[in-house]
Each structure stands twice: as C-alpha cells, then as structure tokens.
C-alpha cells in the first residue's frame, strides 16, 4: 500500500500521537506524518475529527479513525499479517485493555496534576505525587504479571499495553527532571528495565521525543497553561 494512503495528523510532542506511530512501525507500514501547528487546528483535522477536533487522527485512504487506542486496535486488525499488537488470548486482551484504560483514566491525569500544581502549595503537590506513585506501584505489579519474566507487557515484543504506557515515558522523564523519582530501581525494578527496552526498540526510537526538547516545550507551554499537551 502506498505511503500516501496512510496519514497521521499529529504533533511530535503528543504521547497520544506516538501510539499509532509506534503501531504502524511495528507493522512496517509507511505513512505520511502531517504535523499540526500549535494552537491552530487545520481544516483537515476539523473535517476528519469533527466530534473532538483532536489529534491523533489516522486517515487510511479516505477514512478517518480517531482516539489513539481505537486507532492502535484498527492498525492491529487491518495489517493482521504483521506482528500482533493485542494479545491473542481473549482474557489477556481484556487485561491489556483494562490497564490501558487505567493508564488513560487514572494514571496520566495524576501525572498531569503534578505539572498543574507546580505553582501551588507543597500539600497539593504531595497529594498528586502520592496518587502517581501509588499508580506506578500498581503498574509495576501488572508488569510482573503480564510480562511473565519477559521484556515487555506483551512478552518478547512490544504490545498494546507497552504502547499505552510507553508513550508517556517522555513526559514522565520531564517530570522527573524536577527531582521526583517515578521509576525507581528499588521500588519499580521491572518498569525501569522495561522503560529502557521500550525506548531502545526500533519501532519507538525515532518517534520518542528527546527529554530535553520536551522540557523546553514544557517551559513555553506552562508559561501559558500550566498543563502538558492533553490532545
């Protein structure tokens, strides 16, 4: 299929946009990356995602697909001859979807909260940190169970849950720059090793933004809004 048949509307810094890009890389599917300008939504975005007007959007032929995890599942089911992204066992699939939903609904909002309360009192920050670390402890447990001793949640290779969590590693590292340890060699050894393996993977390397670049962007954005880009 020609590269021009597959387009991603997105932004380099968005963890949600990273997800379908990693998925397409896993499947060795070429695509055109259309970068949205900060603060300005293109006509194509508004037309392709009239409900939310948000990135990422995958446009396959003339069909738009929205919502990052919906897109990842679409990619897995469309290019089914490539390496599988969702687990093959039905129960394992439900488990992967459960944790991906937990990450999006609970864990990432806790990470965002830490950034938002930067300017506020120590108490507000302490509560946000407590929630985040409680969450990462749960994810460490989940990793031990799902990986069964292998490198990734998905086993030997990157899968759905690896993509769901791994896409936040850039912003996690930015948050750690302020002195907070989230991935701890003693408390979350599994995830520490996992994070290294994930970032080194060929499907991830070229789309994972550099922590330094993200930190620069954060400084500019937070001066305006006090929150990481929640596309």
């Amino acid at each position: 299929m020609a590269e021009s048949d597959v387009k991603i509307l997105g932004a380099w810094a968005s963890p949600f946009v990273m997800r379908p890009r990693i998925a397409l890389n896993i499947k060795s599917v070429g695509y055109e990356f259309l970068e949205e300008k900060v603060g300005v939504k293109s006509d194509l975005l508004i037309k392709s995602n009239p409900v939310y007007k948000k990135i990422p959007v995958l446009i396959h032929g003339d069909k738009p697909i929205c919502e990052s995890l919906v897109i990842v599942q679409y990619i897995d089911e469309t290019w089914s001859s490539g390496p599988s992204i969702l687990p093959s066992d039905v129960y394992d699939r439900a488990t992967a979807r459960f944790w991906a939903a937990y990450i999006d609904d609970k864990w990432f909002p806790a990470l965002s909260e830490i950034v938002k309360v930067q300017g506020e009192g120590e108490e507000a920050k302490a509560e946000a940190v407590k929630q985040l670390l409680a969450g990462i402890a749960l994810l460490e447990e989940a990793f031990q169970k799902c990986s069964k001793g292998k490198a990734f949640f998905g086993g030997d290779s990157i899968g759905y849950l690896d993509i769901a969590l791994g896409s936040f590693l850039g912003w996690l590292r930015v948050t750690e720059l302020n002195g907070l340890t989230i991935l701890d060699a003693e408390k979350t050894p599994g995830l520490v090793g996992w994070a290294e393996n994930f970032c080194a993977d060929s499907a991830v390397k070229e789309v994972m933004p550099e922590t330094g670049k993200l930190a620069e962007l954060a400084k500019r954005l937070f001066a305006k809004t006090k929150a990481p880009p929640s596309t």
Binding site: I65, Q73, Y74, T78, A94, R97, F98, Y102, L138
Partner: protein, 220 residues
C-alpha cells in the same frame, strides 16, 4: 466443562445493564449477584481491587471489569451467537469510537442532570446532555440500529441509558422525545427485543431510585 459466570452488579447501573444485555443476547447463563454499594462484598473487593466497582464479572474464576471491556470479552469469547462488533476493522473502529463517546459524555451529563446542586449546574448539565444525545442521534441517521440491521456494540453501550430518560426529563425539565425523536424511536425499537426488555429496568423504577438518592444527597 460448563462455563461458570457470576456477575456482580447493582440494578440501576447502566454499565451493569450493558453486561446483562450482552450475556442475554448471546443466550449465556450466569449468576446475578446484587451488590450493596454501601457494603461491598469480599468477592467484589477481591475481584476488582483496583476500582472496587460494579459491574465485575467472574468467568471460570477469572475476574473482568469495566463494562465495555467486559462486553468485548463476551463478544470475543462467544463469537458465534449475535456478533456485537462488526467483522471489518473500520466498522469495529467506528463502533469503539462511538461506544467510547457514550462513556465519556452521556453518563456524566445525565448524572449531573439528576443530582445538580443548583439551577445553574442543572441547566448546564441539561444543555450538555442534549448536545451529546443529538450528536449520537446524527450518527444513528436513518439506520435501524447503530449496528445496522441488528443490535450491535454501540446499541448495547447506549440503550441502558434509556431507562434513565424519564429521570433525566423529570429532574432536568426537558423532553428527550421532542429534542431527540430518533433516539427515542431507536430505543423503543431496541426494547421490542426480548433480551433488551429483560435487561433494562422500568423507567419509573429508576425515577424512584433517583428520588431516594436525591434525598440521601440532600438535593431537594
């Protein structure tokens, strides 16, 4: 070996109704256990330690929670009868997108409509509720069901909220029938299906439940 399924649930929950409906549509037997949300059972706390919420299903000893994840699990475990998700990847992506939209919008606006602490909060909730129902109505278009000719994933995701419509209308001061006639027609069409009729409580019962809860929350 016969499948053993227990569903931990709470009768007014639209999320629980989704799972009841999916199991009933597929003709799957299960044991229904009503939870007292003020005193959650050990089984619920053990089966869903992260969220401690209903619905939670235990299938041959394995717990599954989060209603839409449960519905997909049911669809994938029993694929032969009444497929809920379409077979083509694009159709599946659209179904997932719209079920997710229902999750993000309808429940929250509906809850705020019923339990608003001020007229301003209530008005804002009603406005948002109607907006999202109209978006969904537009997506339905002229189709019989969101699933096309038959009930599908999005129908299962949304139809439970129909049992709450009378409560939304009474406390929100709106007529969903007037504002979103196609949605009401669609819901009534769904209710002609025996499985749907069995899985959804009566609107009057939900209304009375909300009355009791409003007194409890001191919203009167």
């Amino acid at each position: 070996m016969a499948d053993e399924i227990t569903l931990l649930d709470f009768w007014p929950s639209p999320f629980g109704m989704r799972v009841r409906l999916a199991l009933t549509l597929k003709g799957i037997d299960y044991i229904y256990k009503e939870e007292n949300l003020q005193q959650k059972s050990d089984l619920l706390l053990k089966s869903n330690p992260i969220h401690k919420k209903i619905p939670t299903m235990i299938h041959n000893g394995n717990p599954i929670s989060e209603s839409l994840i449960m519905v997909q699990y049911i669809d994938e475990t029993w694929p032969k009868s009444s497929s809920l998700l379409p077979s083509d990847p694009y159709g599946r992506s659209q179904s997932r997108f719209w079920a997710d939209y229902v999750d993000k919008k309808v429940y929250d606006c509906g809850r705020r409509t019923c339990f608003a602490k001020s007229p301003e909060e209530g008005d804002a909730a009603v406005k948002e509720l109607l907006e999202c129902l109209k978006v969904v109505e537009c997506e339905l278009g002229e189709k019989l069901y969101f699933g096309g000719e038959n009930l599908g994933y999005v129908d299962v995701a949304l139809v439970p909220f129909y049992s709450w419509f009378y409560a939304y209308e009474s406390f929100g001061g709106l007529s969903i029938r007037d504002e979103c006639p196609k949605i009401v027609a669609w819901a009534k069409r769904c209710l002609e299906n025996e499985s749907v009729a069995k899985s959804l409580p009566d609107q009057q019962k939900i209304y009375e439940f909300v009355v009791t809860m409003r007194k409890k929350f001191g919203v009167e």
